[in-house]
Every structure is written in structure tokens, then in C-alpha cells.
């Protein structure tokens, strides 16, 4: 019977919310069946899956989710190996009209598959662990960034990566910044300095009484690779009078979910949740600049882990632009500002879409004079974190991305714009464009004349005296015991120790003190 004639309208959902039983780490004991029963097989999820669109072999989200869970209940069926082809883009979640928790089912199935069926001695397992524990690599790499960048750029390295490790040789490793975000943050004076600046800004804005505080979840990428995004966030928030704290933190877990490494993800969450919950307790809201990080803290954590404070963290985590839109008159503030950033081609990350953040960057940024941004449509970039790095998925990843590349090239822009660091990598890889983060554009409009910003854009000389003065202050406060936060940071990141000598570790990399 054709449904064009007789639409199926027999599904009468109730309002009793589906609530899984969280019994991690025995992921297979999580009862996902009520979620599976919500599925009425409309296949909307299947038509949204970018992998199924290019790969004939992939059975699609409906099978990976509700069908697989039903099968598992009826017989002792193993999780199907094809689950490893799912990229965790979560587009199926965004699609399902019946609120079936698809990505939660996929995450759990992947965890079970890796746990029970993947050999812990296989190269695949170790390659996946290596990729998903990016922070570890980045941590080591960032200690000797120039050497690492050099070695990673060698042809020999890429041949080794591909042949031995199964990492796509076509990919270029993202460059490590010569100074991590945390190094910069510490050199700049950490929380103390931020509080001073925020107070000054509040005085200027006539909000002296207000208590405004955020905890920045920078994630791995903006710490090790694009600290300019984190710096932009700090400056923009301080401009609005927010004091910034940077709690101890580890990877958000996104790449680990995507690789079925739920134990690793759990370990990271065990650090992140209490730290962020403590910051919330101290009056801060949690802000992320990467939309997969915010997705993970908001949705995946409470779906997968039963940790004290996990719901607090979920409901108090925001994306960088989103928070300002809701808590400040962002558009009013931007009216009359100028930044010279025309020709932006904007791509919405899939994970941003699930949080209601599609369209936001364009709405906000185009109120700035001199900024032009065009949406390149709803195609998926195809890289999905570590997915596109794997030799066996590289082709699929590029086939998915093809549509986005074409849309970018057809748009007027020649600079890309996106919130997600891996989407940015793929955009750059496929088009050669330089990619910016919306916060960087915001920074250019709102704090163009901050000495820090000017320093970053002109590459001018360093104000040696100011710097030395500031550094002494920092050391001074550390010696006195410093703030709790500074202590926490010490435990977090050994790399931060470098700048505790008080000497600029690499010429010209440290910021002058805040003269404002």
C-alpha cells in the first residue's frame, strides 16, 4: 500500500518521558528498549544519515539504533560490526520525530562492541585509542611544538601513519601552537587579572554591583592548536564584565564516544564534572567554544554517566555566542561596531544544529558593519572528529564533505567560518580556505583596540617592562599560595610549569601586561 494514499497515523505517543536506567560501566545493562519502542519506522533518520548516503554497505541509524536494540532483547545477538562505521554526527538524533534516543543507543552499542568484540591487541584498537586520546598526544606535542610540527609534516611520517597506524596519509596534522591557551592564561595572570579586568569593565558599563562569572571549558583543540579562539573568548567576555576562570579539565569525551572508548570518556568526565560543578557552585556558568564539547557536557554526559553534579553541569553549560545572546543585549552592543571581515562562508556543525545553534552565528555577526557571512547549507562536513582521520573512512569522509566544499566554493566567501575545530580542519582540507571562529569575529568588532588584540594582529614588539612587571606579580601571587584555581591548574597541565620560571619561554610569545 502506498503511504501517499493512506498516511500512517497510528502512532499515538504519550507524554511519559523515556528515561534510561544508567548503570555504567555495564553499558549493556542500560535498558534502552523503551526508547526502541518509540520508533515507528518512518525512516526519517535513515534519510538524514550522511554515511548511508555515500556508503551502500552501511545499514543506517534505524538499524544501528532501535532495530539492533530490539534484536538484542529477543536473542543474544552481538552488536553488529557496522556500528564502527557510524560517525557519531548525531544527525539522526536531530531528525527523529519520535524522540528515539538514537545517538545514545549508538554510543552504548559502540561501547559494547569495542569492549566485547574488538581485540585489545589489535592495531585498530590502539590506533583508535591514540586518536581519541588526542589530548595526550597534543600535550606531548605542544611541549616541543616546532619539532612536532616539523616531524608531523614529513612525508615519511605520513607514510608511517598510514601504513602502520592506519591514519589517513592525506590528512595533515593540525599545527601545535607555540604557546598553549593555558600557558597564555597563566602568563597573563590567570583569574586574578581577569577579575580586575572584569571589574573595570563593569565599572565602565555601570554594572558595578553585578556578579558576572564564567568558567571556560576550552577543550583540547583551542588549548593546543587554536589558542586565539580561547583568547578571543576571554577578551569578549571580559569586555562584557565577566570574570573568567579556567577550571582543571580534560577532554570532553566526544572522540572517545565516537570510538567506543567509554571507559576513557568516563575517566575524563570524572575530572570534568566535579570541577565544573564546583565552578557552578561558585557562581559561574560554563562556557564552551567548541560545539561538540558543549554537546557532550549538555547531552551525552547525562545520557551515559551517572556522576554527581552531571545534571547541574548539563543545564548550566552554554556555547560562547549563545550565552551572550541570552544574557546580554548582544545585538545592541554590536550595532555601530565595525570589523573588516567580508566574504565569510559559514558552515553549521552537525552538533551545533542539535543544540538549536544553527543560524545563530550569521544572525549575530551580520549586525557588525563590514562583516558579510553566507550560510553554505545543511550538508555535513564529513570529518566527524576522528572519523575522517582513519584510513578506512577517509574516502567516505571526503565524499560526504564534497557537497560542503562545493557549496563553499559557490558562495561569495573565501574565508570559512565555523564553531567546530574538526569541521574547520575538513573545510580547510577540502577548499584550502582559511577558517575563523565566530568568537574571533566578535573580538575584532568589540575589542579591536585591546593591547592584547593589537599585539596579536600586528606582531609588533613586546612591552618588555610591562611584561616583566606583570610576570613578577604573577609569581608573587603564586608564591603566596596563589588561588585555588592556580593550584588546580598545576595539577592539570604540566605544560603550564614552563612559564613558572618567569622567563618568557619563547621569544615574543607572551603577552604584554594589560595596560587597560
Amino acid at each position: 500500500m502506498s503511504d501517499a494514499e493512506r498516511p500512517t497515523d497510528d502512532h499515538v505517543p504519550g507524554d511519559d518521558e523515556f528515561d534510561p536506567i544508567e548503570v555504567f560501566p555495564e553499558a549493556d545493562e542500560m535498558d534502552l528498549r523503551p526508547g526502541a519502542d518509540n520508533c515507528y519506522k518512518c525512516s526519517t533518520c535513515d534519510t538524514n544519515c550522511p554515511v548511508a548516503e555515500v556508503d551502500d554497505e552501511f545499514p543506517g541509524p534505524k538499524f544501528q539504533g532501535p532495530e539492533q536494540w530490539r534484536l538484542k532483547r529477543q536473542s543474544d545477538q552481538d552488536v553488529d560490526a557496522s556500528i564502527m562505521k557510524c560517525s557519531n554526527c548525531m544527525r539522526c538524533d536531530h531528525a527523529c520525530p519520535s524522540e528515539v534516543p538514537l545517538s545514545q543507543m549508538h554510543n552504548s552499542a559502540r561501547g559494547e562492541y569495542v569492549e566485547e568484540r574488538m581485540s585489545k591487541r589489535s592495531l585498530e584498537y590502539w590506533r583508535n585509542r591514540l586518536l581519541s586520546n588526542y589530548r595526550l598526544m597534543a600535550h606531548l606535542g605542544s611541549k616541543v611544538p616546532r619539532l612536532t610540527n616539523f616531524v608531523m609534516g614529513l612525508t615519511l611520517t605520513s607514510v608511517f601513519n598510514e601504513k602502520v597506524l592506519g591514519i589517513a596519509g592525506e590528512r595533515e596534522f593540525p599545527e601545535f601552537a607555540t604557546e598553549t591557551f593555558r600557558e597564555w592564561w597563566r602568563a597573563r595572570g590567570g583569574h586574578e587579572v581577569s577579575r580586575e579586568r572584569a571589574e573595570a569593565a563593569r565599572d565602565r558599563r555601570g554594572e558595578s554591583g553585578a556578579d558576572k562569572k564564567i568558567a571556560y571549558f576550552h577543550g583540547c583543540y583551542s588549548n593546543y592548536n587554536t589558542p586565539e579562539v580561547g583568547k578571543a573568548l576571554v577578551r569578549v567576555y571580559e569586555h562584557f564584565g565577566y570574570e573568567v576562570v579556567v577550571p582543571e579539565q580534560r577532554c570532553s569525551g566526544t572522540p572517545m564516544f565516537a570510538n567506543g572508548m567509554l571507559d576513557d570518556a568516563r575517566r575524563a568526565a570524572d575530572t570534568n564534572v566535579p570541577e565544573l560543578a564546583a565552578a557552578i557552585e561558585d557562581g559561574a556558568d560554563v562556557i564552551a567554544s567548541c560545539t561538540s564539547c558543549s554537546m557532550s557536557l549538555r547531552q551525552e554526559y547525562p545520557e551515559l554517566f551517572d556522576i554527581d553534579g552531571v545534571d547541574d553541569v548539563s543545564s548550566n553549560t552554554w556555547e560562547g555566542l549563545e550565552y551572550l545572546r541570552v544574557h546580554e543585549d548582544l545585538e545592541g552592543e554590536l550595532a555601530g561596531t565595525r570589523a573588516d571581515v567580508p566574504n565569510l562562508a559559514y558552515h553549521t556543525p552537525c552538533h551545533a544544529r542539535n543544540q538549536g545553534l544553527d543560524g545563530q552565528a550569521i544572525e549575530v555577526l551580520t549586525t557588525i558593519d563590514g562583516v558579510e557571512a553566507q550560510d553554505v547549507g545543511e550538508s555535513c562536513s564529513g570529518i566527524s572528529g576522528t572519523y575522517g582521520w582513519k584510513e578506512e573512512h577517509y574516502e567516505t569522509s571526503m565524499q560526504i564533505g564534497e557537497e560542503m566544499f562545493e557549496h563553499m566554493e559557490r558562495a561569495d566567501g573565501d574565508t570559512g567560518l565555523t564553531e567546530c575545530p574538526t569541521c574547520a580542519m575538513q573545510m580547510e582540507h577540502g577548499t584550502g580556505y582559511e577558517i575563523k571562529h565566530p568568537l574571533e569575529v566578535l573580538e575584532a568588532a568589540l575589542v579591536p583596540d585591546s593591547p592584547e588584540t593589537a599585539r596579536a594582529t600586528t606582531d609588533g614588539g613586546v612591552d618588555e617592562v610591562g611584561e616583566a612587571g606583570r610576570r613578577d606579580e604573577v609569581r608573587g601571587s603564586d608564591r603566596e599560595g596563589g588561588t585555588d584555581e592556580a593550584d588546580r591548574e598545576d595539577r592539570t597541565d604540566e605544560a603550564d610549569h614552563e612559564d613558572r620560571t618567569g622567563r618568557p619561554d619563547r621569544e615574543g610569545q607572551n603577552e604584554p601586561s594589560g595596560a587597560n
Partner: protein, 435 residues
Amino acid sequence: MAITDDVFVIGGGLAGATAALAAAERGVQVRLLSYKQSTLRHASGLIDVLGYAPDGQGPLADPFDALESLPVGHPYERVGGDSVREALLFFDAIAGDTYAGEHTDANALVPTSSGAIKPTARYPAGVAPGVASDPSDALLVGFETLPEFDAPLAAAHLEDTGAPFEARGVTLSFPGIRRDDAKVTRYAHLLDRDEAVDIGRGETFARAALAAIVRDQLEGESRVGFPPILGDDNHATVRRDLEERLGVDVFEVPSGPPSLPGMRLEDRLYDALEDAGVRVTTGVPVVDYEGVESGRSGSNSRRIEHVLVDRKGQDVPYRADEYVLATGGLVGKGVRSDRERVFEPIFDCHVEASPDRYDWFDGDAFGDHPFARFGVTVDRELRPLDAEGDLEFANLRAAGAVLSGYDFAAEKSGSGVSLATGFVAGDRAGSEVRG
């Protein structure tokens, strides 16, 4: 600080998108917010206005004749026949050359994938060469890996309906697809990109390979019908390419979910929304509202001040002057039910339903089910009414499947009602803002 616009449309289906576009025509700032994807993804892409009268009479040759005699409370009765016409004109302008059937009040008769013939008002351009009023013979092509469309069976059914042409069906194997349950998007992608496919004796391009196996089957028919998989972004190009290679007309036979023609229409609507400057937000639901007494006298004293959107854990306010509720019916989740009651979950607008849930269904599975008509009751301005017949809110209108008083599946009026009520609700909301 709430995010602020002039008109706020809740729901991104055909009704919501039309409402947002109509409001934007009034020169106001519109936001459309939709939780999940709409039923357009399952719908055939046909714009049915009215195929059968509520008493079952039909198929109707002219839906507009029958509009005049619809019962009080039917959405078309609420907005009136002229608005239905105006809404169709509005749609024609949006659809441009991607749709056919404009400039006529009459229903076209379109063969569907089961071989039935369906009366419809507007249909995709790719469906046009297949209409049943055309006397030329047709070859229907199905694929082994796409069991939803059984071409020989559909052809036999078509013959039974007394269609004025001969139809013949064949089942072939789609070049490049091996998997039994490959997704329709996979077929479309192969053809869109004209990818290289392995046909056993080397590689060739998908469109050429498909044309080659179909050409062998032609026995003088002057048109060929396929299931609706002929490309997505490049659908028009794929169809033209196949026509050139085959030397005959090529059409798609609309079918059930999931449906590429519905998705293509969705894309078209969302492109129009972008061009019109409508701000689109998706992936998060409206869960609640805060209201104020408007201070005006009379029964319509309550206004919605802002709605609350759940952005995964915390509610964020969105404010506007006027609101349109286009959240769909039981399938779209605009109307929900539990064991005790049927309700509209955001504003708790009144939904008329028997307190005994055994009255919600007819004993006969294909009978006249009251639940099919569940929804909010509205005045002629499409403003929801409470149980006493008073306005629920002065600044709320409702459109599409969330409305009561019609059974779209039985009447074949789904898209038509969404279009007409979406148009009226959006237009009124937009003009109200301007004062």
C-alpha cells in the same frame, strides 16, 4: 534578555514554513523554530487540497466546488475558499518551475506507487509526465532492492482503474546498489553525482548504466516511470539526462515514506525562508510560555509574553509580538495523548475529546476515527479557542495538522490545509505586528 523578533513560528513543517514566509512578506522580523524534522519527509510531495468530500464522495474533479459545503469548523471553512486560492498562488510563486498544476482549479489525477490514482492540486514537475489523463503508454520500472515499489503490480492495478493508456511494469537491478535496504538517499546520491558504478564488466557512470538497462526494456512506450529516487539536489538534471538518453519522457511515481519529493520541497521552502530573511532555529523544542494579562477589555485579555525553549537542560526565553503554533498533529507531536486525555503540550490550548478513551477509536480499523480529527479549535482568524469558545490568547494563531475538524488521510487534504492555514495565520500575524 530574551531573543526578540516580531513574529515567532513554532514548527517547521509545511504549515510553519508557509506561515513564516507569509509573515515575512509583511516586512516584519520572523523567527521559525522547529524541534525535529517535519512530516514533509514522509509525505509524497503532492499538494492535495481536497480529494474526497468528508462524506467520502469522490474523487473530486474540482475541490473548490466542494469547499463551499464543508461543515462548520473545518479548517477550510474557517479561512474561506478565497484564502485557499490565495495560498495556492503564494505556493506557486515559491515552488516556481519545480511544481506543476498552477493556473487550474481542477484536480489532476496522479498514479501512485500502488497503482492507485490520486486526485491532487499541485504536483512536482517530475511527476507531471506521468499524469493519468495523458493517453500515452507507460513503462514502470521498479528495482529488486526497493521492494516498496512493485512495478508490475502497480501497472496491473493502474489497468484495473481504467486508466486511458497501457501500463507495463518491469523489475530491474539498480546499477551500483547491492544492499537490500540501501537508503533512498543512496540511490539519489549515485544519480546526483553520476558516480562510477561497477556493473560486473567494468565501471561506468550511474546515469548511463541506468539508461542502458531501461532502454533494453522499452517496447515503444513513450514514457517511463521510476520510483522517486531520481536525484536530490540535482533532480531536474538527472531527469533531463535520463530523458535525453532514453528519448522518452521520464517521470517519478510518488510513494510513501521516506520520500525524496517531500525532502526536495522542504529544501525549496527553507531556501525561500533564507531569501526572505527569516531566522531559522532547529533542534530544540518550545516547552512552555509566560503570559500576561493584556489589560484590554473583553474575553481576549491574555497575551503570550514569551515562550521558553529547552536548549538541553535550561529554558531560554524567546519573545515576539505574535505567535503561530504549527506543531503538527499526533505524528508531528503538536497534539499528544495519555491514558486520560488529549492535549496540546505547549500552551495547553483546549482540545476537544471524549473523556472516555475508548470513544477515541472506531471499532473498525479503517473506520471513521475521532482521533484523526483531534486538534485545537480556532476562530476564523485561526486563534485557538477555549472550552467556552473564548480566545485562549490574543496573540496566538494555529495552523496545519495541529488544527481539529478534518481527517487529512481520508479527505486527502493534508498539505492543502497546512498551506492555506499557514498562509492565513502568518499573514494575519505579520499584519498585526505592523499595527
